[in-house]
Symmetry: C2
Subunit: 219 residues, 2 copies
DNA sequence: ACCGAATCTGACCGAATGGTCAAGATTCCC
DNA sequence: GGGAATCTTGACCATTCGGTCAGATTCGGT
């Protein structure tokens, strides 16, 4: 992440507003069209600014994309670090993590979609992050899981795969939202969809891991 | 699916070879670059044919993409129709379906990635399919699940969401293969990765659904 | 009020890309 | 064997798109 620097390295006032609205617009456009499909002109229009303005602040399309990604990664890691800690009980931690990830998927689906698109393409930009930071984080989280298993609080499952599954199930509600809506039909409201999603995912995770003291005995 | 027709509506001999290698090349290129990112010239090079040849057989990039997608959808539906049937026991059906989907993800990851990319973009081409065919299929599969639940063979879970979760978990091993490999490291071989994946996903699904007579009592 | 720095913007490129075409090569069928 | 349909291909084009730039315009400090 972070390569070189844009035009002026100083801080400004209007800078904040412009960059913020550009980033927001970029997240919206990139999330639906992907990096290649997104047009700088469209992002500019979405942000209500002339195209040259984007280049003034971010230099190139590539750097703008990186900036968006960086923001996404930060939140991604924060959520995990908040929930998957040894102090919590497995039931609370895993259910909380699932709930938080689903909330992200609902509130900020574009972020999840951009991340997905990046990894789909082979993670040309994120590869260093995946191999270094993410790998370390997962190792740490795996240790937490194994600690719980060792204390008899849950079954022994392959920790990394458990996380792959949790990420897949939760993020699918952002990445494949169109499919979810199409299948469930228009009569299914957002609230009920996400309520059912949380119940289902939580159930699969908690029961699948044999978590004792299952908070969600039924749903 | 299927819109209009290519240049000549007749059958040919060399036609088969060329179209086949073009489709294979297209699947490889589209799967990593997405529709917008894929270059007709690259697909041509991958297929070992001049670019004009692709246009001779498929007319436009759009029609070539549709042809690839159509093929993918067919397999997608076949697998589901094969496993999720009332005659089978839930344990066998669900485990078999998971195994088959994971095999697809391993053997033909490009197909899954193309499908994912299409849905990520809002399914501009697949929307009709999602709303009509897929919705009907899921309704049928949901009826099977509910039948099993009614017979006391498994718990009552929201069937559509169960499938969303199964698709997410299995396809993530194709779509996010790069992330999986990066996190698990190079020392993890294909075989062991997919073995662990199958064990984990199957466990989450079967235990999560409270399937009786669980074939996989432990792993 | 004044001045330099920061910000903004319309007009303008060059490269890349999907698509075309007409002429040449090959295959098929009688 | 011969002619027509099918197939192949290099050269070419129009458009689109990321990026540039020089000239306004506004902002911040004194």
């Amino acid at each position: 992440m972070d390569a070189g620097m844009g035009p002026p390295p100083v801080t400004g006032a209007a800078r904040r507003d412009s960059t913020a609205s550009i980033l927001a617009a970029a997240e919206r456009i990139f999330s639906r069209r992907g990096f290649e499909g997104a047009r700088m002109a469209d992002i500019a229009a979405e942000a209500g600014l002339p195209k040259a303005n984007l280049h003034y602040y971010f230099g190139t399309k590539d750097r703008l994309y990186r900036a968006v990604l960086e923001d996404i990664i930060r939140q991604w890691l924060d959520t995990a670090a908040h929930w998957i800690v040894p102090e919590r009980a497995p039931a609370e931690a895993l259910a909380g993590y699932v709930r938080a990830k689903l909330a992200d998927a609902r509130i900020r689906p574009g972020a999840s979609r951009i991340f997905a698109g990046e990894v789909l393409r082979g993670a040309p930009l994120l590869m260093p992050f995946l191999v270094d930071e993410l790998r370390r984080r997962v190792a740490a989280m795996a240790a937490v899981i194994e600690g719980w298993a060792a204390r008899g609080l849950m079954d022994g499952v392959a920790p990394a795969h458990l996380f792959f599954c949790i990420w897949a199930m939760t993020q699918t509600y952002a990445d494949f939202d169109v499919q979810v809506r199409a299948v469930l039909g228009p009569e299914a409201g957002e609230d009920s969809v996400f309520a059912a999603a949380e119940a289902t995912v939580t159930r699969l995770v908690l029961r699948g891991c044999g978590v004792r003291d299952s908070v969600t005995e039924m749903s």
